[in-house]
């Protein structure tokens, strides 16, 4: 447990440093790039001081790390607001999207995966496999417009843009749930098949346990692998949620990142990347710990 926390912390430091050096060592002068070619030298100089870029690199790095720990992540260049505050405001929609879609994907995948494993080789199994392969072939930013064309424009069932009713969240959620369910279903199915061939199943059967109880136990054995996969997919889910937001006009982290990139708001971009990486790492460590609780064998090795 301590080991995985340390691993997470080291990686967090890695990401933060990467963000720091990416900005500082980027080719050309970021200040000149922000202010444009016509900027006067004294303008550039004062801006540089504001960003703290006039200090030496080690000094900058020192104050950057201290600022990170003290939760002083700098101010947005464009809106002159605190970066962390801006992130906090946009966090809720993204987190809602991510959590709901993970929950439903998990549910659907558990059902579809075990179902297709139990009916292995049947037409249902093939259909589910085909569905998964198909939906995985469309990246989120092509899946979303296609869903809009089908459900909002052609059929007119669901509204898009301007999130006023819960119904507006349906399309963005489908966009996120489809690919995630597909990834998970395949893993649940294969894990289920692999585990159900093990000798202890035969023992349970011989003892006369009902098939539902056996399936439940097999499913529990598959859990660590599935949880691990979810945590490996987290960065994809986060990135996916951010892309979905930009398409459906949801004021979340993705929208913030995109406008920050467009405005060359470097402190905000840097803060957003570090922040999302931190969420990701916390969840990663959390799954590591949860796994060793579910399967004690993993904790020992």
């Amino acid at each position: 447990m301590i080991q995985s926390i340390v691993k997470g912390l080291i990686t967090a430091w890695f990401v933060a440093s990467a963000a720091f050096f990416c900005l500082r060592l980027s080719p050309g002068d970021p200040v000149e790039r922000i202010l444009g070619a016509q900027a006067r030298p004294e303008q550039i100089e004062s801006f540089r001081q504001k960003l703290g870029l006039d200090l030496s690199l080690p000094k900058q790095y020192q104050s950057f790390i201290i600022g990170l720990v003290k939760l002083d992540w700098g101010r947005s260049l464009f809106k002159d607001k605190d970066v962390l505050e801006m992130i906090g405001e946009s966090l809720v929609p993204t987190a809602t999207l991510a959590i709901i879609s993970i929950f439903f994907s998990f549910l659907f995948a558990s059902f579809l995966g075990t179902y297709s494993a139990l009916l292995r080789g049947g037409w249902q199994d093939h259909l589910i496999r085909l569905f998964c392969l198909g939906s995985l072939s469309f990246p989120i930013f092509s899946l979303a417009p296609i869903l809009i064309i089908i459900f909002a424009i052609k059929l007119g069932w669901l509204p898009v843009s301007e999130l006023t009713t819960p119904l507006h969240y349906v399309l963005p959620l489908i966009t996120l749930i489809l690919p995630l369910t597909s990834v998970l279903t395949r893993v649940v199915r294969n894990q289920f098949l692999e585990s159900s061939g093990e000798p202890w199943i035969a023992v349970l059967k011989a003892k006369g346990m009902g098939s539902f109880d056996i399936h439940l136990r097999v499913y529990k054995v598959c859990m660590p692998t599935i949880l691990n996969l979810v945590s490996m997919q987290l960065s994809v889910i986060l990135a996916g949620a951010m892309i979905t937001e930009t398409i459906f006009d949801i004021p979340g982290l993705g929208k913030l990142l995109l406008t920050a990139i467009e405005n060359r708001d470097y402190p905000l971009v840097q803060g957003l990347i570090i922040y999302t990486s931190l969420i990701y790492l916390v969840l990663y460590v959390f799954t590591d710990i949860a796994n060793s609780k579910i399967d004690p064998r993993l904790a020992q090795s």
């Binding site: 963000a19 995985l136 469309f138 990246p139 930013f141 899946l143 417009p145 990139i261």
Partner: protein, 273 residues
């Protein structure tokens, strides 16, 4: 090697079709000067209008041309990027499995930290801060891509290291260099090739994601095309549909081929189908 399944063959045919598509476009672009050009007067034409087989995009460029250029661009970029990652990954994996303990631990540490990095986010950060061209994108994607290959290569090298034929090669005094490249590498290659095929679709996805976010490096990137198309989705849904289908085809083909090859080549594959 087991018999290839229908799905694998279908995937392989899809991939070859795309390669053919790219090559035909390359010849046409080179000899007939068939390169999509901006022609504002002809913007957003539907398919089969005014001699445009697939219509035109937001700048009046022929969609057929845009998609073909996208196929060529994506394939070449994906192949170059994924194979660079694979080469670095195999070397690193070899060092991790066979090298001196200190260097091996160092490389393993680096690989593991990058492996749990949120890849897409890192790529977004680097591309937005550096505003680099296609070379920067290549370096970035290789930088985050090689640990995946290294982990697999390491496992394979560890498995093969103790095999009798490697031990006997070592016993008759084969040089370490030759041992690595001639004796062990061929045995590792199949698994790496499977990973490479699946990696190609990963690179295509990452590249177009960045293109969609406006961080692309080529005007022919499918992501960029889709980013433009989503704003005119009411007037010209054909751009979204055609681009998505073109992209889905190659990703599906690569995934089917990769999965099928893995089942056929992997000696430990249980054949759970």
């Amino acid at each position: 090697m087991k018999q290839l399944s229908f799905e694998t063959k279908f995937g392989a045919s899809l991939c070859s079709l795309y390669v053919l598509w790219g090559v035909v476009y390359l010849f046409n672009a080179y000899f007939n000067n068939f390169i999509p050009t901006i022609n504002i007067e002809k913007e957003l034409l539907d398919p089969l209008q005014e001699g445009y087989l697939l219509g035109t995009d937001i700048y009046g460029r022929s969609m057929l041309g845009m998609l073909s250029a996208g196929v060529l661009h994506s394939l070449v970029f994906a192949i170059v990027t994924a194979s660079s990652s694979a080469i670095i990954g195999v070397c690193a994996g070899g060092i991790m499995a066979l090298g001196r303990s200190k260097i091996a631990t160092l490389i393993e540490g680096i690989a593991n930290s990058i492996y749990i990095f949120p890849t897409v986010l890192i790529a977004i950060m680097i591309m937005s801060l550096w505003e680099g061209g296609i070379l920067t994108l290549w370096v970035t994607l290789v930088g985050v891509g090689w640990p995946g290959y290294a982990r697999i290569a390491r496992g394979e090298f560890l498995r093969i290291k103790t095999m009798p034929y490697v031990e006997s090669a070592r016993a008759i005094g084969v040089s370490p260099f030759r041992l690595f490249f001639k004796t062990m590498l061929p045995a590792v290659m199949p698994v790496i090739i499977v990973q490479l095929v699946l990696g190609l679709s990963g690179v295509i996805m990452s590249e177009s994601t960045l293109g969609f976010l406006g961080l692309g490096t080529s005007e022919y990137s499918w992501g960029e095309l889709l980013a433009m198309a989503k704003d005119v989705i009411l007037e010209a849904p054909h751009i979204v549909v055609l681009t998505s289908l073109t992209m889905a085809g190659i990703i599906l083909g690569l995934n089917l081929l990769g999965d099928g090859l893995r089942d056929a080549l992997d000696p430990r594959s249980t054949g759970v189908k």
